[in-house]
Symmetry: C3
Subunit: 309 residues, 3 copies
């Protein structure tokens, strides 16, 4: 593992929330909240940040781009998934080339587990990488923005909370980063629920209450985190049909009644309405979905600032 | 219809020129002219504007992007037509997501009639949409830039003018916005000409002099507005061949001789040279084509400023 | 040929290094070096620069984009190779349209020889074009950055140097611009080496020592410039196999031993590791590959500043 914290405790890259010290994590959340509360500066004026996406994601790229703009940085977008010029070039050569152009901050997405950490191990001492999602391993800024959203809704003490994560946890980097952050912040109970084929068979859910019964898992939950169902799970035979999935694991208003009276609902987006979540829940008063998106910009500003300012 | 003017007369969105008060329209033109004449400011510094194109158009996107840059705004480009991440997500969810990132200005193009107004009905009170073209309904900034170009060429009083619009009016949002604006500004005579299959069968041309004979329609016209012939009209069987179209409705230098001696020629671009317009006319002294493009940036600055500053 | 120097000696466009006065070339290199050494300004604030690529190249586009950003310019990117809106529109109409939007600086790449010079002949007096590569004719900023890199490594006096260019010189605009610049700067000996099918049969290599024997050509070379082997050369039957090519013209560490003891290695990128260059050479102490990329931004800043400031 590439160290993302340097010997004197400074954040060098952000690759994963796994093992990120609680004070570092809380410090990033505090800074994001301060940004939201109006501490406006442009500390990265003159700095260039490159979004380097080997796997496309317009939504995440836009959020990082807006964060970089608000920090005053210049943004270069490189969609490596469609670039023909990089054919035959390794991801590392591409990164080193853009680094040589004087770019010090990279926001990197890759379809392979560990690919971003591998790149981070090979960059110059003053170059910083933010993992914008690698394989099904980690999506640390999504984890951070979820924690900030939770903190705003439920307060900074998570010890009394029951948080339920529902869906395709096996393939979800969001779920992994969320579980790591929830553990780090001392969450009382973490529940995980989904069909057996979509639950991980590794240590991801260590210490979590795992179940296949959504109705039972919802009982008394304070927070319900729904995951997106990728449609390719059908082709892979892991899910029989969207209807079946909705029947067993779709969050409906009726189902949400089983959760705590003041339960909140989260989803990383983009949502499949009518599949893992019903429209009236997504748009309802319990939904924090758009609050998550808004917090995403602030959290990414806090991270880029911590790495580059 | 979503109101684009709020109760106290302020422009909230720009969706169509249909029913836009004459003083609002003229005010936007005045402001655009002032921008051209050198009133330079950056009133949108720190503001983000997103070009959200569900239907691609590089030319229109670039014009809005340059307008936003000159106003000092940060620009986010979202080409929703090629984004795979938005698959399965509704246009409204996409818009709400980017809105949640703190973006207040959207420039939206969509292939469906009314789609932009529908989105405008669902946004936050301080979010403004500019319709950059929806279906064959409206392209209001094109209408405005055409009016500004006309005003520069012929003066602000349109009551003595004969304006001729030629071509595929049925499918043209440009023609609809132009006709609405020409009416609003009190144009003396509006003529419309094209093959029957390409003329609208609704109220679009109410009050216009409609004809299928281009030569006759040209007699004494002060302004000739040519429309682009989309090549798919051939596949749809609405036009027999490009040669036939050029013979009947192509603007040649000889034909232009029938118009008023100081007649001017306009075209929204991109031009099919040798189809609806000959190269020597397009590049000739009567052509205002590039002036239209130049005015486009100023008009879009005036609109974005009116909506967001 | 469009004049790229105006009557009073000012650079009007940058289209080729062929015939560029030595003092102009050296002046651009001096300015690029000054930029690297820390002379920071934003002389192009408020100016718009459009990258207009009729042939895609993410790497070159990013380098120009970063250069423009560092000069304070606003950047518009137009990938004409993927834009559907420009179908049926000529390259000149596209250029004139963006020019009409108030853009004065264009960075243009085109697949056809001479296409950029042809466009330059038709623009407004205050519009400047930079050739970012046309066909196999010229890539002048690559030539400039290579010269800057050489000057940093070997000093400004090239009269004692032996420079070897290896590979597909026939199809390489980089090689043409390099040879022109090396001649202009009075390089002692220019050698060219490659298989017969990949060497030009025109005057490109006039005055160069031409050979097909890589090992012999390497003897005593101070500088080894490797060219990228485009994989389409195989399909065209000009190269039998990548393995054969590597055996005959691939730069290995062993082969490099034949060059001068302090020989340096250059490559314009992207590299085909294991084909024209081995990874240990590309990443070794003699390699200037990333230094070339870094100099590219400074050289492009110097050029854009010379044309537009």
């Amino acid at each position: 593992m590439t160290p993302q914290i340097d010997p004197d405790g400074r954040l060098r890259h952000l690759l994963t929330l796994d093992g990120l010290p609680r004070e570092t994590l809380a410090g990033l959340l505090d800074r994001a909240q301060a940004i939201i509360d109006g501490v406006a500066t442009r500390p990265l004026a003159g700095t260039a940040i490159c979004t380097l996406f080997f796997d496309p994601s317009t939504r995440t790229r836009l959020s990082f781009q807006r964060a970089a703009q608000r920090l005053g940085a210049d943004v270069l977008n490189f969609d490596a998934s469609t670039s023909s010029t990089t054919k035959g070039e390794t991801a590392l050569d591409t990164l080193h080339t853009i680094e040589a152009m004087g770019v010090r901050g990279f926001v990197v997405r890759h379809s392979a587990d560990g690919a971003v950490a591998e790149l981070a191990a090979a960059v110059a001492p003053d170059t910083a990488l933010v993992n914008a999602g690698d394989g099904s391993s980690a999506h640390p800024t999504q984890g951070l923005l979820d924690m900030l959203t939770l903190r705003q809704a439920k307060g900074a003490d998570f010890s009394g909370l029951t948080v339920l994560i529902v869906g395709d946890i096996r393939h979800s980097r969001v779920a992994r980063s969320d579980v790591q952050a929830l553990r780090s912040l001392g969450t009382g109970t973490i529940r995980a629920c989904g069909p057996a084929a979509l639950l991980p068979d590794d240590a991801t859910l260590h210490g979590c209450e795992v179940s296949h019964d959504f109705d039972a898992a919802l009982e008394g939950a304070d927070v319900v985190m729904m995951l997106r169902l990728q449609r390719e799970r059908m082709a892979e035979g892991l899910v029989s049909s969207l209807d079946d999935y909705h029947r067993d694991y779709g969050l409906t208003a009726a189902r949400l009644g089983r959760a705590a009276p003041d339960a909140v609902v989260m989803h990383p987006g983009p949502m499949n309405r009518g599949v893992e979540i019903d429209g009236d829940v997504a748009d309802g008063p319990r939904s924090l979905v758009l609050r998550q998106v808004a917090n995403g910009v602030a959290v990414r500003m806090a991270v880029l600032e911590a790495l580059l300012a």
